[in-house]
Structure formats: C-alpha cells, structure tokens
C-alpha cells in the first residue's frame, strides 16, 4: 500500500513539519508495520539527474528556420545562457520555466521509461537541454497543462523580487516539494489492521510509535449534514452481510475539474484520476479508509437499491465493459430490474458517472469482509475498495466517510443534498478487556507499573481504568477503530511494541530435563536413509502429486485408492501418489545420460484410509533386479527384520501389474511360520523389474528394477533391540563350487530350497556366482554356478564327509530338476 507523506503530514504535528522517512524506516518497522521502502513523490526531480532540472528564464525566442512549430529559445540559468530548440506553444521571453539540462531524465509525454537528455541537433540546430512540459517531469497533476503543446509556465508562481536567487536551483527545492515522499508499506504486515489502510489510521499509528510526533485528529472535524428526506429505498436481504448502508442523493456538477491537490495525492497513492465524483470518492477512501461508490441516479430504476445475493444466471457489465457471470454467493447492489454493482468490489458500466450525470446516489456502506472477498474472487477483480473491505471495516467509518465526501463534493462539485437514506443494523457493544499486570510479566518478562501501561495504551487511544486503592487489575477499552484488540494477549502485544521489543530481556530457558520422546518412524527413517546412502544410493525428493498422464505412462489403472486434489495447480498434480515409483522413474529419465542410476526416496504415500512412509529404491543397470534385491535384503538384515520372499504373479488382483515386467513380482513378507496367508501388515514390500513397455513410453534406456518397502511394517517387525552376536566357529569353513546344468524354466529359488534343506544349520552362505546361457550349453539349458559355504560349530568337516554330502545333494537335484554337473 502506498502512502503520501504530504497527506499524512496533514494529520500530524512533527518538529520539522514533515515526516522523516528514514526515521519511519527505522522506528515503524520495528514497532509496527513493515515499511518496504520510500521514494520521492517526484522521482524525476530527485537524485542526481533530478538536480539537473532547474528553474530558468527564457531571455529570447526566435523561429526555427526549418520548422514552423519549433522555436529557438535562449535560456538563462543565473550563470550562463543555453540554446534550446523547443516545440512549446506558449514560449515567450521573460517566462520562468522548468529547464532540464543535459544529463537530466524526462519522460516523453509523461509516459514510458525515463530518457536521459544528451546534446542534440534538431532540424540542424544545436539544442542543449529541454524546456519541460509539466507531465514530462511528473508535475502534470499539480500543474495541469492548458493545451497539450504548452510547456510549464512558472512565471506566476515566482512574483517576488528574490527570484534571481532561485535561478539555476533544482526545481524540487524551488517548488518546495523536497519533503514529499511516497511510502510503500507491506500489506501482509498489517493484514489484521483494517485501520491502517487509510492515511488517518496510519497517521495515528505513526504518532503512537514515533517519539515527537503527535496526531492532530482529536475528534472528527467534519461538519454535520442537514436532515434530508429518504428519497432512495434501500432493502437489505441479509443484514449480516451489510450492517450499515447509507445512500446520499446529490445534485452535482460532474463536469468540474478535480482539484489539483486531490489528483496529485491520488497519483502518489497509485490511483488514476477519472472524474471529480469518482476522484473524491477515492480520495476519501485513501484518507479515512472508507470505500464508496457513486451511481448515476437516472440509471437507477425506481430509485430503489436492493442489497442481495445474485440470482442464478445473473451477470454484470463492469466499468471498463467486461461482462462477468455472477454466482449465487456474490453480494450485489441491484435495482428492481438489474444488477448495478458487485458489493464492495466494482460498479457496473451502465450506472457509471459520465459528464452528463446530473444527480448521483453515493453509496457509503459496510459489507461483510468474507462476502466481499468471495465476490472479488468470483469475478476475478480485486480493487482498492475490495482490498479494504476484506480486512473488515468498522461501521463507524460510514458516518465519517459520508460526511467527508459530502464536504468535498459540496466544495468541488457544487453538490446539493437531495435525499439521504441510512440503514443501520450495527449494534453498539463496547467491549472491555480485563487483565492483570502479572499477566504482562508472565508473558514477556517485563515488569511494568500500572502507570506505565496506562501511558503506553493511551498512545493508542485505549481507555484504561485501574482500581483506585489496591490491586493490579486493568480494565481496557480499545478505540472503535481497533477491532483487532479483543483479548489480554492482544493488549500485551501492543504494550510490548510501544515499550520497545528490543527492551525485552533475553532469558535462557530453565526447566525440567527429560529424554525426548520422538516419533519412532522419524528416527527409523533417518537410520534407513543413512543405511541406503552407505549402500551407495543417492537420495531424491519428488513431488507428492502426479496426474493421469504419468499414471497411464507407468501403466496404472486408475482406481478409487487415489486421493484426488480438488483444486490442483495443473493436471499433472491432480492425484496423491500411492507409490514413490512413478515420480522416481521420471528421475531416471531425467538422468538418462548418467552412466548409472541408483536412487532412493523415503516419503509419504496416501490413500483415503491411510498415509504412511514408504521407502522406494530404483536402479538402472544390466543386473538391476539382483542389485535391488541385494540392497533390499541388506537393508532388511541391517534392520534385523526376519523375512521370506515369494514370487507372485498377475493372479493376484492389483491395478499396478502393468508396471511389472512379465506381471511378476517378488513379495517380501515377515518370516512368521504361524501365518499361512500373509496379513497386510506382514507385507514388507515388493520388488520388480519395470516393464519394457513402460520404459519405452518413458524413453528410458536400459534395464530398470525397483522395490518399495513399508517403513512402519519394517519398524514393527524389526528386531534390532534383540540383536545378539552369533557364535563364531573355531573350525574352518569349506567352499564348495558347483556348476549345475538346469532347464531354462527352473527357478533358482526352488533349487535354493533343496540346497538349504540339505545343508541345514551347517550352511554358512549360499550365493550364485554366475548364470550362463549360450553356445557352450544346450539352448534349452542354463548353467548356474553357485558357491556353497559349509561350516560346523562342533567339528572340522572332513573331505570325505563333504564328498558324500555333495553326491547326495546332486542326486536330489537330479531327481527334482534333472540337474547334472556341468563339465568344465
């Protein structure tokens, strides 16, 4: 929000007569709102380039030899003369002018970016600088031009004899504009303070926060309006949405020029001048914070205004001729026939003020904050008016605002009061906040006396009553414009900021020492991430959302398990992930050129009935499946989770099968011999290879495998606490390497089971060293080389025993799978 210091100064008494922006920057920011920055109200006249725009006099004028509309002027700045070519229609000798020297910045016709002046040749004649029109140096509002080719004539402004001293001096100082600044205050920092969205409110706040600044606003200085008949009928459907409505019928002269001071102050606050009626309305809004809207009385059917919600199918053509459909939640102002305005947001084109307007109906009202915000959102228009209503305005402002508007309209638009309708549903409930001095100390650590508190709150115009005899109780009544003060804590905040937050004593925390009870899954998650990085994986973080397209690409059939976002930012963010894998595959694609991809993520997955942490592992490698398996099993071992694996296939109903190569998956479940069917909470996770179709659709080259694990189930069945040391055998371990010729369709898992049951508790480890298919074996066969390591806890295994063991194993493998030893 922009504020004009000149307007603020109107309501303040300061030592120098005007606010010092540096002091505001320092003091206001620490005690109140965030002043984001300030700038001279006349930026073209300020700073180093601005000093090159000076007061000067034209000493001679002659016609340009080659251009009818150009003159060659001699300009004197008190020191020397300059030759300037000028197109101004009003240049004459002895005229005082705004002279922009070489190096100054001006805006052509008051528009676009500033241009730096350089020496120029205009139609063959040298020109050093420029004689400025008001709008070219940002003075268009203060010095309206008589015709569009006229330059700024300052002759009348300097009648006194000392004018010679002023020649050559920067215009900003000569015109007394150097103490005018525009302040930019962060709206967010005052969103709960509707009173600060006005110059009067901000002035009061500045007076409360800054030393040596006091407010001049003791009581409303506005004159009361005379009684007038109710010429307009106003109906309000739901008083909760409009507690106060005032309609003034006024005869006006809408063709009058808006006074320069209003146009200028509006400009400083970033508001364009429209016409005298609208400008005065806007001016009262920036002064007092009360928005208002003027209707052309002739365009209102039957002199009737209804404040109601829009009906189905209604629409409005807004000022600026944009037509908007209205929803039944939008509050509007309508006559008997049509919608005239969206309440608190914007009026319609039809009833807008024109030069033909003779009578107006001025609406000054209080609308419900939420309703106005909804209305603004619905039509997609946010205005200076809706911005203020959204903060919640007090009804008391309606009286102040309408009086001020009438006063100005009377002075500058020849307004005459014809009628006045005032509807008031507001209740007058003065609230009192009761609190004790101890509360202040308890919450802030500050020890303040009742007298000090009274003085501090007095600066905010709070009434404070303390019991006369004894006690620390305070009874506080905030002023009407501070609707945000309701509970003792609100008052404490005010006391602290006025006392100076920097004066709060810093205190270490003293308290009971306990061992913190952290969420077990958080601690486990940290550990698991460390274990996975130790296994060489890179952590990634992907979005929790994906869309139909990615779901299709990875072969998901959409189903009810997905939680849908009502208002996604875009279609690719519509659903909440039920698995980490789809987004992780995008990461594989993103890094397709990397020599190797091995990544993991620990993140939440969501279904309507559950939200849980999942561990996702994705590897791109020729041996991806075995690598992922190795990672998963290392992790499970590290977490001491007893597990079994089971190959499952598309016989199980699952909407995600298309992601799995061959519609096969390896399921990890808790090793629990008593449990025949696998209960859902016993499933630890699944592992699979990504279907080549999916890889092709995603444009991923190579082989990709993945696994997902449930962190809560791992934590539930992990037995890290029970982990003990296994006995270390004193007897040597024996390696037995066996190369088996097996049918292509024999699964290793079945072979493994036979070997395991044969070895019993002497099996130290069992690994597959090599799987070979190719020229040296029959095409329907594969050669699997495995290494069996046997070790006994009680004896040295003799060669003879081992040989017998191996022979019996081979017999069984032959019987079960037709396996034979492969010749070397």
């Amino acid at each position: 929000m922009l504020y004009s210091t000149q307007l603020l100064n109107q309501f303040l008494e300061t030592q120098t007569g005007s606010l010092d922006p540096e002091a505001l920057m320092r003091d206001l920011t620490t005690a109140s709102v965030e002043l984001e920055g300030f700038e001279s109200a006349f930026p073209l006249l300020a700073g180093a380039p601005g000093e090159k725009i000076v007061l000067a006099r034209i000493t001679a004028v002659s016609k340009h030899p080659d251009a009818d509309r150009l003159n060659i002027c001699t300009v004197f700045d008190g020191l020397r003369e300059y030759q300037v070519v000028c197109g101004g229609s009003n240049v004459v000798p002895d005229m005082l002018i705004a002279f922009a020297m070489v190096g100054a910045e001006v805006k052509w016709h008051g528009e676009g970016d500033p241009i730096v002046l350089t020496p120029a040749k205009i139609r063959g004649v040298e020109s050093e600088g420029m004689i400025c029109a008001a709008e070219e140096i940002g003075l268009g509002a203060l010095y309206p031009a008589t015709d569009e080719r006229a330059v700024l004539d300052l002759t009348d402004a300097f009648q006194n004899p000392s004018v010679e001293e002023w020649l050559g001096k920067p215009l900003l100082h000569v015109l007394g504009l150097s103490d005018q600044y525009v302040l930019d205050i962060d709206n967010k920092s005052m969103t709960h303070r509707s009173d600060l969205f006005s110059h009067v409110g901000m002035a009061q706040e500045i007076a409360a926060c800054l030393p040596n600044v006091v407010t001049r606003l003791k009581s409303p200085l506005l004159k009361r309006m005379k009684e007038a008949p109710e010429t307009i009928t106003v109906t309000i459907d739901d008083p909760a949405l409009c507690l106060r409505y005032m309609a003034l019928e006024l005869a006006v002269d809408a063709t009058k020029e808006t006074p320069a001071f209003i146009v200028e102050r509006l400009r400083q606050c970033g508001i364009k001048s429209i016409n005298v009626i609208v400008d005065i309305g806007n001016y009262v809004m920036i002064e007092y914070g009360q928005p208002m809207h003027a209707f052309d009385e002739q365009k209102i059917h039957n002199n009737t205004l209804h404040v109601r919600l829009a009906k189905t199918g209604e629409s409005i053509e807004l000022l600026g001729k944009q037509t908007k459909q209205l929803s039944t939640e939008t509050l509007v102002i309508a006559d008997d026939e049509k919608v005239l305005a969206v309440a608190g947001v914007m009026g319609g084109e039809h009833s807008g003020i024109t030069t033909n307007t003779k009578r107006i109906v001025l609406e000054v009202a209080t609308f419900d904050a939420v309703t106005v915000r909804k209305g603004a959102q619905q039509i997609g228009v946010r205005t200076d008016s809706s911005l203020r209503y959204e903060k919640g305005l007090p009804e008391e402002l309606v009286t102040l605002g309408s009086q001020r508007a009438f006063e100005l309209l009377e002075d500058f638009a020849d307004a005459q009061l014809i009628g006045m309708t005032s509807v008031n549903h507001a209740t007058d409930d003065k609230k009192e906040i009761v609190m004790s001095l101890e509360m202040i100390t308890r919450t802030t650590g500050l020890q303040l006396s009742a007298k000090e508190v009274k003085a501090l709150l007095g600066r905010l115009q709070c009434k404070v009553v303390t019991p006369r005899v004894y006690g620390t109780e305070l009874r506080i009544t905030p002023p009407w414009f501070r609707r945000d003060l309701n509970i003792p804590e609100d008052i404490i905040e005010e006391i602290v900021r006025l006392y100076g937050i920097q004066n709060i004593p810093v205190q270490p925390i003293i308290g009971e020492v306990t061992i913190p009870q952290s969420e077990a899954e958080y601690t486990a998650g940290r550990r698991i991430k460390d274990e996975l990085t130790a296994l060489g994986l890179q952590e990634v973080l992907t979005y929790s959302f994906y869309g139909t397209e990615l779901m299709k690409t990875v072969g998901y059939e959409q189903n009810g398990e997905h939680v849908e976002i009502q208002n996604p930012l875009s279609e690719d963010l519509r659903y909440l992930r039920v698995s980490l894998i789809p987004r992780m595959l995008e990461v594989v694609k993103r890094n397709d050129s990397a020599p190797r991809v091995d990544i993991f993520e620990v993140g939440h997955v969501y279904t309507p009935s559950n939200e849980a942490r999942q561990i996702g592992v994705v590897v791109r490698d020729v041996d991806a499946v075995r690598i992922v398996r190795g990672i998963v099993e290392s992790l499970l071992a590290q977490e001491s989770v007893p597990f079994v694996t089971e190959k499952i296939a598309a016989t199980v109903d699952c909407p995600f099968w298309n992601l799995y190569q061959g519609k096969q998956a390896l399921r990890y479940a808790v090793d629990n011999p008593n449990n025949g069917d696998v209960a859902p909470d016993a499933v630890l996770g699944t592992l699979g290879s990504v279907s080549p179709k999916v890889l092709q659709r995603m444009g991923i080259s190579g082989t990709v495998a993945f696994a997902t694990l449930s962190l809560p189930n791992m934590l539930k069945y992990g037995a890290r606490e029970q982990k003990g040391l296994a006995a270390i055998s004193p007897y040597p371990a024996v390696d037995i390497d066996v190369s088996l010729l097996l049918g292509n369709d024999v699964a290793w898992g079945d072979v493994e089971q036979v070997i395991r049951s044969h070895a019993g508790d002497q099996l130290k480890s069992l690994s597959v060293v090599d799987v070979y298919r190719g020229e040296r074996v029959d095409s329907d066969k594969k050669s699997v080389t495995c290494r069996i390591v046997l070790q006994s806890q009680s004896e040295t295994l003799e060669m003879k025993t081992i040989e017998l063991w191996r022979e019996s194993l081979m017999r069984d493998l032959h019987t079960e799978f037709g396996a034979v030893l492969r010749d070397k």
Binding site: S189, I487, I515
Partner: protein, 348 residues
C-alpha cells in the same frame, strides 16, 4: 678339494652378479646351497666321511664359502628388490572413486537443524502431510473466513478421507498441510507439558511455481510449553539455535508480525551472517534477514487442545527450511530441489 670349493665359489659369485631377477637368485641358491644335490651341499655331505685333519682344514673353508655366497645372495636380493619396488608406481594418477550415495541437500540441512534442537532436548515428530482442516486451521485459531483458507492458497482434497482420528473429522474437509504447525494441537493432545517439540517436514501451498516459489517446500516448526514461558525466552532460543547453525554469533531482532495462532506474534530477523551486517545482496543491504515467524501460543490454541485457561504459556516458531538451504548453498532457484538432476545432487 680346496680348488673345487674355490671354483664353486667363483662360479656362484659370477652368477649372482649376472642375475637380473629374484627368480634367478632363487635358482642359484638351490643349485649351490640347496639341501638336495647342490654343489656345496654335496661337499658338506661328504665332509663326515673325511679324516679329522682334512675335516679341520676343509670344514671352516666350506663354512666360510657358504656364508660368503649367502651374503652375496642377500646383498643382490636386497639390491634387486629395491630396484624393482617402485617399478610401475605412479602416484600422480587420479583416484578411482568408489560408488557413493548421498542424502539430498534438503535432508542434510534439515538433519543439521533437527540435531541442534535434539541437543536442546526437543522431541521430533513429522506427522501427516494430508491433514484435516481441523488440525491445519481450526485448532490454530484460523477461522473459516480467513484468507489462508482460500482455495488460492490451500490444496483441498475431493476424496472422502476415512482415517482413525481422535476426533470425528469425517464432516470437515481435508487439505495438504500448509504448515507444519498442524502438529501443535495433535502434540498438545498426546503429551503433557513441559513440552519441547519440533516438527520438520513437507508443506504445500497452491501457488504458481517460479524461481522463489514451489507448491511443495519444507518447514521446521518448533514449540515450547511450560508454566511460565515468555518472549525473552523465545528470543534466547532463536538466538542460540541460529548461532549453532551458522557457527557464529547471531543477534535476533523481533518485529511485530501477524499469525493467527500466536499472540503476541513476531517476525524474527537474524543479523546478516553473510556480510556481518555490512550490507549485501542477501540482506538487501539492511543488515537483517527475515528468518522466522514466531510468537506466544494463542490462548485459543490451548483451548482447542483442551487445556485449562491460563495454566500454561508457550512459544512457537516456524523456520522456512527451503529458504535456509537455498541461502546456505547459494541456490537461486527453488525448483532445483525437486528436479533431482544428478548435476545438482552430485554436488552434495
């Protein structure tokens, strides 16, 4: 005999001199000194058959010859070993890096901050990311009419959510949590003060993505509840934590700030650690960096958690961890966080 010994010695020494490898030397040792059928070995074996006089003469000669050859072999072995030891060694070749995993930089920064709080005795809870309006807004004194609850700021969920919850929340809407403050009342309900808790985690805002905004980002919420907590302690806590994180002295300045679930509420600025308050691009030449939203827990929040009015006081604060990570590493685009390009990730 003597001649034979001298001849063997001369030949052996010549062979040792000519030897070029350790294998050659091994051969010479076997041929001349070996137990089985070696030149000198055979002579030594014959010694026992000779007369005492001859023994007395030849014995020492054989012994000294054997020692001499042995010494020559040793010297040559050492020389050869020294000569070949450094062969093929080039210390200037670049290293071969083992395949290495790493945590995402966001996780690294988050862990660092969490560990500082753990040292202060804070417990850590992450909580749900999809939460009810009840815990994300209502219990935090953010009424239905508050702009934060607008569809422009918050992701709402269409699908009915049926999770077991302490309260019946089936009627209310569910949202992607807009802050990690959603855990305040959940924790207050489950634990007894005194409480020190942090909530690190992922949060969501419905806003268009650009270099400084992402719809998904990371926060760390913290709160302390006890009988008499005050603003001075909040200030101390923030100062200590930031000092531990940045490993240098830090001053924290409080400014009025508005958050519905704290009263009084403060924006906490940290003295700029990047320029020591001399003025830089990061602090926009003000010497201060806005770091934390904070304040004293609002009485309505205690009320929502079922606490007796006025029994406890507490403070709460929220650290923008995405921003802290960006500042730490000099990242100028928040989108890098979820892009997961290896060019980015491999730097950490």
């Amino acid at each position: 005999m003597k001649d034979i010994v001298q001849k063997i010695e001369a030949e052996a020494l010549a062979a040792i001199t000519a030897a070029t490898s350790l294998i050659d030397l091994q051969d010479i040792r076997v041929r001349v000194l070996g137990r089985k059928d070696s030149a000198l070995g055979n002579l030594l074996k014959q010694l026992k058959d000779l007369s005492a006089d001859v023994k007395r003469e030849v014995g020492p000669l054989l012994n000294s010859t054997r020692d001499g050859i042995e010494a020559a072999l040793q010297t040559k072995t050492t020389a050869l070993e020294e000569a070949t030891e450094a062969e093929g060694l080039d210390l200037t070749l670049p290293g071969i890096t083992p395949s290495r995993g790493a945590l995402h930089p966001m996780t690294q920064v988050m862990n660092e901050m969490v560990d500082i709080f753990r040292e202060f005795g804070f417990m850590v809870h992450e909580g749900p990311e999809l939460d009810s309006e009840y815990y994300n807004f209502e219990t935090l004194n953010i009424p239905k009419t508050h702009p934060a609850r607008d569809i422009q700021d918050t992701f709402f969920v269409n699908t009915p959510i049926t999770r077991p919850e302490k309260h019946d929340l089936t009627d209310g809407k569910w949202v992607m949590r807009t802050h990690t403050s959603n855990m305040q009342v959940r924790i207050l309900e489950e634990h007894e003060p005194p409480l020190r808790c942090i909530v690190p985690g992922r949060v969501f805002r419905n806003e268009a993505t650009d270099a400084t905004h992402d719809h998904t980002f990371y926060q760390l919420e913290g709160f302390v509840v006890d009988k008499n907590m005050n603003v001075g302690q909040l200030l101390w806590m923030l100062q200590e934590v930031l000092r531990a994180f940045y490993k240098k002295d830090v001053t924290v300045r409080l400014r009025p700030g508005y958050f519905p679930f704290v009263e009084p509420g403060y924006e906490a600025d940290m003295s700029c650690v990047f320029c020591d308050q001399k003025g830089c691009r990061i602090c926009k030449h003000t010497g201060w960096i806005e770091m934390v939203g904070s304040g004293m827990i609002h009485p309505e929040v205690f009320k929502a958690a079922g606490y007796k009015e006025g029994e406890y006081t507490g403070f709460a604060f929220g650290l923008g961890m995405s921003r802290i990570a960006m500042l730490k590493y000099g990242m100028n685009d928040i989108r890098l966080m979820h892009e997961n390009s290896f060019e980015f990730l491999n730097q950490f």
